[in-house]
């Protein structure tokens, strides 16, 4: 299952083995963007501030519940396959070294607030003078322009600013309760994923035309685009959507014997299969249920009936029985369920990587199996400053004495 443990697996270069990336990011969205590139073979040099490093190092979950900057499961996950250096980019020499790195890169991903980025000399029109092919990606809460440009936002704020929070939990029955954000770090990760699409479209053009560009990624824009059908429903039809229950057919998970199952019925064929799985009960024979719109309009009658049937059955039994009959169903999985999923295990969704401090751990890898260029299981996340020697001395040509001086000055 693991490339590291398997002697028979022949290593092939990753899809992005020819792309060099410099990352000046912290937290989730930016690091997730470059992780996606690193996992496909790109060389990613991650720049962290000396001393404390990336904010994610301070946040759990920690390996064996031992809080330590090298043991953050969050950081370890978001920074696989990268090279790590430390650099204080706010110092004049630090700024110069950053520009040296960027001059040699295909992609530069940064997530500094627009005002600060300017102070740091990270203006694209300056950087492109030394590297016209450079693709620079700026990932910020509200983008580089517009009235909210300098607003601060964490993932919670971005998700609610993006419009999906307001309609979650969908089909809520509790009008007095607050809207909620999507689970975990998913909203920030989507922003990083989306930025990676733009970055690779731009490198594709840069390779053929020799011209890079600046990509301004606003997390709010990305998250709004995910609920574009809600936004456009107002823009085009003046429909205001809220999270309160609209009684849709089989969209919400239903409680079953040992958890929850979601059963999604869209087509007539799926409906007939479900009715059959339920043992053709008399109530389901009503001809108003024959069309989707008929079922949808009568969801308030149908949903409780299906729920009643499902309640007595275990989720896995329902899952396999329904799917075997062509009904889209899935149990609501927990992290443990996924780690034990026969499907994910067989597909090699988890890989083991060895980290000098955290040891050997399993990591989730990728939803995409590339036929020719598999996910790269080369290395776990870098230790803070792990690759300073390699990058400063071997790559940029600084002497060991220079590096010592830079260290003493607190730049590295």
């Amino acid at each position: 299952m693991s490339m590291l443990n398997s002697d028979t697996e022949i290593e092939r270069p990753g899809a992005l083995g020819h792309i060099r990336v410099v990352e000046l990011c912290t937290g989730v969205a930016g690091p997730y963007c470059t992780k996606l590139l690193a996992d496909l073979g790109a060389e990613v040099i991650k720049i962290e501030p000396p001393g404390i490093g990336d904010d994610a190092r301070q946040r759990g979950p920690f390996v064996d519940d031992r809080p330590h900057p090298e043991l953050s499961g969050l950081f370890l996950h978001l920074n696989t396959n990268k090279l790590g250096i430390t650099l204080d980019t706010a110092t004049p020499i630090g700024g110069r070294i950053l520009r040296e790195l960027v001059a040699r890169a295909d992609v530069f991903v940064e997530d500094r607030p627009p005002l600060l980025a300017k102070e740091l000399g990270l203006a694209y029109n300056e950087l492109e003078k030394v590297n016209p092919r450079l693709v620079m990606v700026s990932i910020t809460p509200f983008g580089q322009t517009g009235p909210y440009r300098d607003f601060k936002a964490y993932e919670l704020n971005s998700h609610h600013a993006g419009g999906e929070g307001y309609v979650l939990p969908i089909h809520s029955q509790e009008p007095d309760r607050e809207p909620v954000k999507s689970g975990g770090i998913s909203a920030d990760c989507v922003c990083g994923l989306s930025a990676a699409v733009a970055a690779l479209a731009a490198t594709f053009l840069a390779s053929s035309m020799g011209i890079g560009q600046h990509i301004d990624v606003s997390k709010q824009d990305v998250l709004m685009s995910l609920v574009q059908n809600h936004v456009c429903a107002y823009a085009n039809l003046r429909e205001v959507h809220s999270r309160l229950g609209r009684g849709f057919l089989t969209v919400l998970p239903m409680e079953c014997l040992d958890g929850y199952i979601v059963i999604t019925i869209v087509t007539d064929r799926e409906w007939r299969s479900l009715v059959e799985c339920m043992g053709n009960p008399a109530w389901a024979q009503d001809e108003k249920y024959l069309s989707w719109i008929g079922r949808h309009s009568n969801a308030a009658e149908i949903n409780p009936r299906i729920e009643e049937w499902a309640r007595g059955l275990p989720k896995d039994e329902l899952f396999h029985k329904l799917q075997a009959n062509g009904v889209a169903a899935a149990p609501v999985a927990t992290a443990e369920d996924l780690a034990r999923s026969p499907q994910m295990i067989e597909r090699g969704f988890f890989e083991r990587l060895v980290h000098p401090v955290a040891g050997e751990l399993q990591y989730p890898t990728t939803p995409c199996r590339f036929g020719e260029t598999p996910w790269r299981g080369d290395s776990a996340a870098p230790l803070l400053g792990q690759h300073n020697e390699v990058i400063y001395c071997e790559r940029l040509g600084y002497t060991h004495e220079d590096l010592v001086k830079l260290r003493e000055a607190g730049v590295v």
Binding site: L168, R246, F248, E255, T264, T334, D337, E346, A358, C368
Partner: protein
């Protein structure tokens, strides 16, 4: 393309995609490529109508005919469309000819369906060795669940994302149709990665995407928690694992809320200043992050007593001026009327031949040199028959008419 040529308006100009995708999860993957400038040719038929042309179950609507769907329009912008009824072997041959002059194939039928049509990757690679093919399916096309199907709720529930979304004391929530688009963006990412690889090496490949896994990885922090601590994490509404206040608070007005996240000690001090340093902020139990997190129920009530006196924008502005992260939980109506949204301009309008003027979203980023504009509305079914069968594949008008007669082009 090459050096010295004029810069195109979009970065994937010159890339051609044969698009067998349907539904949101498939269509928006190739839809992003078409927004990015690729020529995306949707292969469809009255014998197999993309469900989103006639209805949307996540918004609970059905549409009259096949040309009246705003949701189909939204995620199929810039695309072309041909009609091919795959029940005819001649259709399959024409599809192959199209693949021969294309760079990418996208499809999200059930695993095995393309193979059954004679259009599996192994066949397509024979006729176009460097073809890149995306196969997107609910659970992936390999493994014991490969025959299992799914829609957006299947993905979010099967992936662990729904378990992590919702109130701590409530039921798991599958989110909106956004989860389809998460899978689609993942597909677009895989395709642009493979295009970069092919550009460098000349080698194409097949990509097997699992929509469930596409969301499992986005909720990767939950997986990591289990993998590194053995604990199974649970949803917690808006709350953060270590800091507080971190929630949505009710404001003046009907169903108005502001999200506030205070993480660092500096932000806590700034927050206290911004709300006028009421006495409770000095209580010892709120003096450090641990105390605030341990007493967040009380803290949330106290914060809400401040927000309820203000509109969500008043609260937001007061806190942002102090350097505290705050934003209203915006409704779709508020977004459309918002000055920042208008300024950013990611939404635009297109003229649809049947529905008329439609507000739609273009690419969600600003690209400085190749802005990747929305060029046209989604295609009417078969609107590009003449261009594709005539110009690209070299059929005469008579041959095309014959194929229509025979129901091949249907």
């Amino acid at each position: 393309m090459g050096r010295g040529q004029a810069l195109p308006s979009a970065p994937l100009h010159g890339v051609r995609v044969v698009d067998f995708c349907w539904l949101w999860a498939g269509a928006y993957a190739t839809g992003l490529l078409s927004l990015l400038g690729a020529e995306v040719i949707k292969v469809e038929s009255m014998a197999r109508v993309d469900q989103t042309r006639v209805m949307t179950f996540t918004l609970g609507k059905s549409f009259e005919g096949v040309e009246n769907s705003s949701v189909f329009n939204a995620i199929n912008l810039n695309k072309l469309s041909v009609r091919l009824n795959m029940k005819h072997s001649r259709s399959v041959e024409l599809a192959k000819s199209l693949v021969q002059v294309s760079d990418v194939v996208g499809q999200n039928m059930r695993p095995g369906a393309m193979e059954a049509l004679g259009l599996g990757y192994d066949v397509l690679r024979e006729i176009k060795p460097d073809i890149i093919m995306l196969s997107s399916s609910a659970f992936g096309c390999k493994g014991p669940y490969s025959n299992y199907g799914g829609y957006a709720p299947t993905f979010s529930c099967g992936s662990g994302l729904a378990h992590m979304t919702g109130y701590a004391d409530g039921t798991p929530n599958p989110m909106t149709g956004s989860t389809d688009l998460m899978s689609a963006i993942t597909g677009a990412f895989a395709l642009v990665a493979a295009l970069n690889h092919r550009q460098k090496t000349g080698v194409g490949q097949h990509i097997d995407l699992s929509s469930v896994e596409s969301q499992g990885i986005l909720a990767g922090d939950a997986l990591m928690e289990y993998l590194v601590t053995g604990r199974v994490p649970h949803r917690c509404g808006n709350r953060d694992r270590i800091t507080a206040p971190h929630n949505c608070y009710r404001c003046r007005g009907e169903d108005k809320w502001v999200s506030i996240a205070v993480r660092t000690p500096e932000e806590w001090d700034a927050f206290c200043d911004a709300i006028g340093n009421p006495e409770w902020t000095l209580e010892e139990r709120f003096a450090d992050a641990y105390g605030r997190h341990s007493h967040q129920d009380e803290l949330d009530r106290l914060v809400a007593a401040w927000t309820i006196e203000r509109t969500h924008w008043e609260a937001t502005r007061a806190l942002q001026e102090a350097g505290v992260a705050a934003m209203p939980s915006l409704s779709n109506e508020e977004i459309v009327n918002d000055s920042h949204f208008k300024h950013r301009g990611i939404a635009t309008t297109v003229e649809h031949p049947v529905m008329g003027r439609q507000v739609v979203f273009g690419v969600p980023w600003r690209l400085s040199k190749t802005p990747a504009p929305v060029r046209k509305a989604s295609p009417l079914m078969g609107e590009s028959n003449q261009y594709v069968f005539g110009e690209l594949l070299g059929l005469t008008s008579e041959e095309i008419a014959d194929l229509e007669e025979q129901g091949v082009i249907y």
